[in-house]
Symmetry: D2
Subunit: 352 residues, 4 copies
């Protein structure tokens, strides 16, 4: 089959012919219908220090996908053959203390698709049956693919209480934009959003931000204080990992407020625990992965009820064969979610 692999340490990815994956007794084989690009995949492409530390080439990369179950291991009873599934990319052990106490997203033995085991940029992928989440009939492939990433947004927006509160989202990449849509659906009173790219701020607006602020050209502090009668916000959802955004976000957080942090800073930063956390009596939540499987049920409900519509976020579609173009676009930042299709006929919209 065709697959995009990191063949060896270093820059870039390549498409190769590789054998179809073996299917373990608890696994299903999925024919990939759509697979989307995550920021992590850019790090892998670029072979940054994080990638060098975590990946062992050769490896098929990619971890966001949907597809059709075409084969099942001997011990698998569900999902059924022919079922459309999305995939939870974190393969957890189900045995450690975290898995056994409702903290599977913190499993100490997590294997991530496309990072620790062969991933989704391929015609087929094998995953544990439990990781294959049945989708409702008729769900668009592009939406089904990005659910894994949507789950990060749902997790972030669900840990603090946003209902009836004023929320600041710093960083309007795809996860940030989905966090905006989620916060809005979960009853946020107002959602303010910052980024430095007009393209993404426009998406943020489209998916539900009340007020978007270009941090490169506008005074974020003044804009949010002005919009909140100088009170600041009740909740900060930090999706950027950018030091300046973190600093602004915490300065704008009200005393007694809650911050949920998802954006990675890639190393220590200068951070004022006194002013940002202690004197404020703030609560800060670290967010990683998706709560298994609470966030998946929440996602299903948000999408099925129409409370969140992710369609406008899928701005570009490519044939998997054109992955180089897709990655180049992702790097430019002039896009929302970019989805690739191993079979171009599966594309649920015009290809770029």
């Amino acid at each position: 089959m065709r697959a995009i692999i990191k063949a060896s340490p270093g820059l870039g990815l390549e498409m190769r012919q590789v054998p179809e994956p073996d299917v373990g007794p608890d696994e299903v084989l999925i024919q990939v219908k759509a697979t989307s690009i995550c920021g992590t995949d850019l790090h892998i492409y670029d072979w940054d220090p994080w990638a060098a530390r975590h990946l062992q080439p050769p490896l098929i990369v990619g971890h966001e996908l949907c597809g059709i179950v075409v084969e099942r291991g001997a011990a698998v009873t569900e999902p059924g053959i022919g079922q459309l599934v999305s995939v939870e990319s974190h393969v957890v052990c189900d045995r450690c203390r975290f898995c056994r106490t409702g903290y599977g997203h913190l499993c100490e033995n997590t294997q991530i698709l496309g990072v620790h085991r062969d991933g989704a940029y391929a015609e087929y992928v094998a995953v544990p049956a439990v990781n294959a989440w049945p989708d409702p009939p008729g769900m668009a492939y592009s939406i089904a693919s990005l659910q894994e990433n949507f789950g990060n947004a749902v997790h972030t927006a669900s840990v603090p209480t946003v209902a009836g509160r004023k929320v600041l989202v710093t960083g309007c990449g795809p996860v940030g934009v989905m966090a905006i849509a989620t916060a809005r659906a979960l009853g946020a009173r107002a959602v303010y959003a910052t980024d430095i790219r007009p393209y993404r701020l426009a998406l943020a607006k489209q998916l539900g931000a009340d007020h978007v602020i270009n941090a490169a050209t506008e005074d974020v502090m003044a804009a949010v204080l002005d919009a909140t009668e100088n009170e600041g916000v009740d909740v900060l959802l930090e999706m950027s990992g950018a030091t300046a955004a973190i600093e602004q976000g915490f300065r704008l957080l009200k005393p007694g407020g809650q911050a949920a942090l998802l954006g990675l800073t890639s190393g220590p930063i200068n951070f004022d625990l006194d002013d940002h956390v202690i004197f404020k009596g703030a609560t800060v939540h670290g967010i990683v992965g998706r709560r298994l499987w609470t966030d998946w049920y929440q996602m299903r409900g948000l999408l099925r009820s129409g409370a969140v519509d992710l369609a406008p976020l899928v701005t570009h579609r490519f044939a998997l064969d054109d992955f180089e173009k897709a990655f180049a676009l992702m790097k430019s930042g002039e896009c929302g979610k970019v989805v690739m299709f191993p079979d171009p006929d599966d594309a649920d919209g015009p290809l770029s």
Copy 2:
């Protein structure tokens, strides 16, 4: 009356004769029976940048005290004349959004005794009647005085759930030691404590730490991992403000753990939000002051029931006239809580 004042910007304090305070209609006049020294008072003595920013000399300093109500303003109905009271040092406005929604400890108009208004190192002090907390008959003056400071410890140990959990306390100054005693009383499964002074580690042990570790001479990481079967702790109570202790504390915090931060760092530090908060899915709570008045009720219960005994923490007593000696001892760190008595005959133990 005699009072210790910061007469003008700069190092040191001095005792002077000053007029007795006026008593407003909602205030009570308290004859000070005991007044204890807080770390903040050292900063004021030394006139560090924080003190320079917040104090406007001349001012009577000191904010931990107990005493007898000797006069009441016209509108005051309780506490009664002759009542022994401890004092909440934060005078809050009762009008702002924080005060009106149970977050009085975050009041935006807080005036602190001995910082923003005349304080406790004096024969008499006037405070709003609502700030005068009636003590049970027979409570030792030294214990009554340090309740205000005990409240910081109770607040810190109450925000995360310590019952049934393994707890690390970094920093065994008086508040740290009281947090140890509180965590123990609230059902902590095990309490580990770090500091760099043997004197304070001995106090920590005496007030309930299971295991004390000298961070200056021992390998804190190894010691705590060894004591916890390499799992680390469920809860971190950070009471030191020391960068190294913060770093160790967060590294020893389990995924999914809770950290409560009270110790001030006096400015930004290098902090790894990725490793310490995000990847761990940790929750971090900033702690300031005492929850009004939840923590005072909690304190009363802990002391009355005997669940916490603070007597061993009061290691030194001085006449208020000997404040220079008391401050010098505090600076040495070779002490627990240091209590001063305007009238040496009120001392509830031998004077140093």
Copy 3:
């Protein structure tokens, strides 16, 4: 001034000329602009056992109102003369353990307007300044009056988590309908509502219920199970106090669900703790009054942002002189909220 009083034990109310109220030092005098009728007022009119137990005639009744501050006691600094205010009807002591720990709605010394002290059905009423909640300029008098009652709904819908959840509201009296609007504004995924009056079900629909069910003519169990794929609901908001509704509500509550109970049953009922609470692992919250002042801030936000629009709920307006007609209508149940105006010129809509 004119006032509606319960002159003596027994049925009915009467309008009389009475002296204007005295204004205590901490009180304000309010010229009543609008005053609305609560279910409690019907009990008082009818002099049911509850009323007989709690009221000591003669007394001016009524507890929902808004008006203009026209006089202030000596110790009052806010709100200002001329300010439009709504009134929190529970006068609490600010001294008991509940008041001092954020549970003012459970104050053990609560005095309720129109129950324990003179109330709102009058040209003027005196209340503690702290009970007078400043309204934004331009708020309609009828909306300002019913905020007190809206607070019950906000309290009920805020204690369980409704965001992203399926919610059943049993009972579509005014508070039930306002709870529907609040649940919707706070992000409820779906809101099902039951009552036995078509008039009120129509109001429920208008204020945001997805699905209304007439318990007198439809099979509530079947309807809700059908709408929820046989799962039942995550949250029950019980606003009726009717035994049958309580029974249905709990049967429809999912295992692990949350119920908030506001409707009063007026005495013990036959209740199956095993099936309704224990085997389900349910959590049941008793709701009384409004959390002081959290719920008032929440109300202000919901109204100002337009997330909740209560205008359609105000179905009838009367001159206060026509209170007998207003009460007769309330008893019929063929109405939403009924508002009375001491000065008919103040009516913000056509009088009935």
Copy 4:
């Protein structure tokens, strides 16, 4: 092998020779070392309506046990052969929404040992490997056996916050007594306990109750109010299912208090939601089973640290062959926990 079975509908149990159980691919075969009697087993013996509704004879009964793993199904990797294990008696599906979101104790497909599938009163029992909880080396068989039941107590005492609070435990059967010990270990400020048997009140006292009250001979209301300065308790743990105890418990619960209900009432009772829940602003938690596996980890910690010592609760030991004597004693109520040993040589104390 020998096993105690309910051979057919009706009173009583009998010991029979039956085949050893088959072991499925995900199961382990356990040689039973100790098996204890639960109140539920008495209902099964007596064939009460609940038993008649749930059991399909013939069936091996009993669900509390420990033993040694002696055989493993093909798919089992842990626990190892020879390992001492306790057993979680609820066999859950791991597939339903409850299992997949941390609510396994509410699994809609639960099969209970000795109720829905063959149980523990036998020489051998087969259970899913995941239900076999490895015990630390050297744990006494009697303690290991009763952990399953201890889990109910830990669950009940962990859901409300008991740390620093005053707690009333109504019902001092074995689970009630273990709840007392747990509440004490988790930092309860004071524990009051009621029952009608002096034997059990003595056990309650021994395991940590501060104050025991015989509801048959003493005035429970007066005793608890007296002990709490007329305030009542913060937390009610209802372990009796007795109407009078429930009534007393709720009357003694403070406004704003929390109740956790475990005791079953076997049908609807007369219950005053107004006074007991609504006017009090109380929170009521239904408790069923053990949270999988949070409560097992909590148990392990409580036992290993010595915070809870259950040894005094094991008051009687019998050979399994003497089960009739054991059941007769249980019915008398003049006992704590009664443990039976298939091989009398395994008894960890003198046999009765």
